[in-house]
């Protein structure tokens, strides 16, 4: 066992450090984000500028094929870059979906001409992508989607509604999965496309979350026309294409931000309870120990994953553990920290609440972490089936024509 980099990894780490020292600003606080420092439009423009420098330095699309500007590097290099970037304010939430999910799907299914048209622009941040997948009636059960695609000569006409689309309000392009044949069984009547978000008939509305922020959108598609040349995969083969996209999501989902064990520990050392400092209270100490061993368990699990990646392995479904454990823990820690503040815990005024109200903010943002990129329940199914090899649940929706399936309470 040894925690040091291989010479190749160390060389890359130095390269990343040199780039960040030159082009990135250090964070002013642990929880500062690009979006909290820069407002909407300015944030996007600055992010594009940073992404261009990143691409010019060869630090974008690390795992991409060399033909499209990537390095064909093993996943360990992505982890090293993320470690080095952690201390800096770098743009997050603009390019991950395009570079991590949309482009790999284009690499697998688009024509060479299309790849050469879209990949460099995405890599340099000139064009931003989003992913039109989830629908109001199709979340965890994505294959239950109802957005219709109807063939009309050399084009398709799209009608329907998508939801939870990150970045749709600034995206230039999107990948889209639709239902082209409602008479076919659920997974067999889907067809996959990419399209311009500037196409006539697209309307984007931002969703206000319980935290008050708006990361997501609803996207309404009304008689939107897509040329058949922008279909990815065969007609009715869209589910297989969507799986390709989702397999890449694991590489993309980043670490959670927000107060964790260290912040709770530091709060417990400073706040007074009825019988002295919180850290001296036996019940508090027991809870702190629980959170510590879970935090460290995830941390060292990541090191085990890095070891596997360092050998050139691809990330497997066992990595779902990190998000499963961390998201629930973040919610518990936020709630417990507020309990320590007692009556004063309800206040969200940043000058009144300790750590500029980070725990109160986390209380309202953490429920989303347990749902986004796979709910706790779906992640458990994935681990059960793909890691432990347990059978799938008995399905009532596999063979029947999609339009015969019940969709609501009768």
């Amino acid at each position: 066992m040894d925690f040091s980099d291989t010479p190749e990894e160390a060389g890359f780490r130095n390269e990343a450090r040199a780039f960040l020292e030159r082009h990135a600003e250090p964070k002013r606080g642990a929880f500062e984000t690009w979006q909290s420092r820069y407002p909407d439009r300015e944030g996007l423009e600055r992010a594009k500028d940073f992404q261009r420098k990143r691409a010019e330095a060869g630090l974008a699309g690390l795992h991409w094929p060399k033909a499209y500007g990537g390095r064909e590097a093993s996943a360990i290099f992505q982890v090293i870059l993320a470690q080095e970037e952690a201390r800096y304010l770098v743009p997050r939430g603009y390019f991950e979906i395009g570079l991590g999910m949309c482009m790999p799907t284009l690499f697998a299914y688009a024509t060479e001409e299309q790849r050469r048209r879209y990949a460099p622009a995405a890599l340099r941040g000139d064009e931003v992508w989003c992913q039109l997948f989830s629908e109001p009636g199709a979340g965890s059960d994505l294959a239950g989607l109802r957005t219709r695609a109807v063939r009309d000569g050399d084009a398709w006409v799209i009608n329907g509604q998508k939801i939870w689309t990150s970045g749709a309000h600034w995206a230039d392009h999107a990948i889209l999965v639709t239902r082209s044949d409602p008479k076919a069984p659920k997974h067999k009547g889907l067809t996959f496309f990419f399209l311009s978000m500037k196409s006539p008939g697209i309307e984007t509305r931002r969703i206000k979350q319980i935290s008050g922020q708006s990361h997501f959108n609803e996207v309404y598609l009304t008689d939107v026309r897509i040329p058949d040349s922008q279909r990815l995969g065969g007609v009715g083969q869209g589910w297989g294409v969507a799986i390709t996209t989702l397999m890449n999501e694991r590489l993309t989902s980043g670490e959670l931000r927000g107060p964790d064990f260290e912040e709770l520990f530091s709060l417990a050392r400073s706040v007074e309870l009825e019988d002295g400092p919180a850290i001296a209270n036996a019940a508090v100490r027991e809870r702190l120990a629980d959170y510590y061993v879970r935090t460290q368990g995830v941390r060292w699990s990541r090191f085990r994953t890095m070891t596997a990646l360092s050998r050139g392995d691809t990330p497997g479904p066992e990595n779902a553990i990190g998000k499963l454990v961390n998201a629930a823990k973040a919610q518990d820690i936020a709630s417990f920290a507020m309990d320590l503040l007692d009556m004063g815990g309800v206040v969200t005024d940043k000058d009144f609440a300790p750590m500029r109200a980070a725990f109160q903010e986390s209380l309202l943002s953490s429920p989303g972490s347990r749902i986004a990129a796979g709910t706790d329940e779906i992640l458990k199914n994935i681990i059960a089936e793909r890691v432990l090899g347990l059978p799938q649940d008995i399905r009532v929706d596999r063979e029947a024509p999609f339009d015969q399936l019940p969709a609501s309470r009768r």
């Binding site: 850290i279 027991e286 120990a289 070891t307 199914n381 432990l388 347990l390």
Partner: protein, 370 residues
Amino acid sequence: MNFDFSPDQKALRDQARKFLAEHASSVRVRRILDTDEPYDRDLWRGVAEMGWTGTAIPEAYGGAGFGHLELCVIAEELGRSVAPIPFSSTIYLAAEALLLAGSETQKRKWLPRIAGGEVVGCLALAEGPGAPAPTAVKTRVAGGRISGEKAPVADGDVADVAVVAARGEGGGVSLFLVDLGGPGVSRTVMPTVDPTRSHGRLTFDGAPAELLGPAGEGAALLERVLDRAAVLVAFEQVGGAQAALDMAREYAMGRFAFGRPIASFQAIKHKLVDMYVGVELARSNTYYAAWALSTDAPELPVAAAAARVSATEAYFHAAKENIQTHGGMGFTWEFDCHLHYRRAKLTGLGLGSVRRWKDLLITRLEARAS
């Protein structure tokens, strides 16, 4: 980055697993469970012949001179098989205490015989129910003679030598070495929740005792010994937890109810995933502690406590939910589920309760932060 065991260490693990599958099968474990035999003497002899008892003992004292990482690998396999031998008492506690604090004479006297499997050792700390804090130690040593009672002592009924926590003439707690074959020692067997690991009551009435380590520094020395043992026992716990999870998985795949394998119900799938997550987090914490132990890193006290807490909880959780997955059959003597349920609780208390280790963990984090 290489946060994993080496190919040689993995080969040792495979070898250990194969050996124990044959020599510590559940039939063999049950021979100890169902009879008055305190431990499996054939297995103990076999383990010594394999060289495991001398794994982390230097060659100068008759050992193999490997490191603690090799010992961790073996511990995991011993835990997986619920091996009914006095390995943890002898190797993780007595030998580690001798290595940490023994005089040259003491090391030369005991370590070669421990490495050769000729001697069983133990650590005598508790004096009845309740937390064995230094203030609770009533056993006394005066003029090189020890008097008092220690109970329960894991393998105290069969051990040849004991490391004993007792109050010296200065009043402080020290560690002493007592030859249990000598005069002034009487002992009785104590029944426990896990009959596959023998326990005894040790009564000292003026038995010869020699100081192990500096006088009056027993509490600090004990803490170091328990930290090292905690890492090794955590590997046994992870091995046991993994075995309980594997049993539950295997049963759920083969047991049909309501026309389908029960492993296809989400209630069972999610239960098994909760067990798996617990085992994986514990495994990662124990790997880190193994690194700290093998390099004698300053992080060892925090890492050992975290591994202890994580592995204790993962093992008990996996063991109890394994019974639940088996339904009524899991509650029978005939099925092996109870072997892990018993061993999980035993290992969870043997080095001190998880409640106390959690408190210790936070104390250590506070010390590190200030």
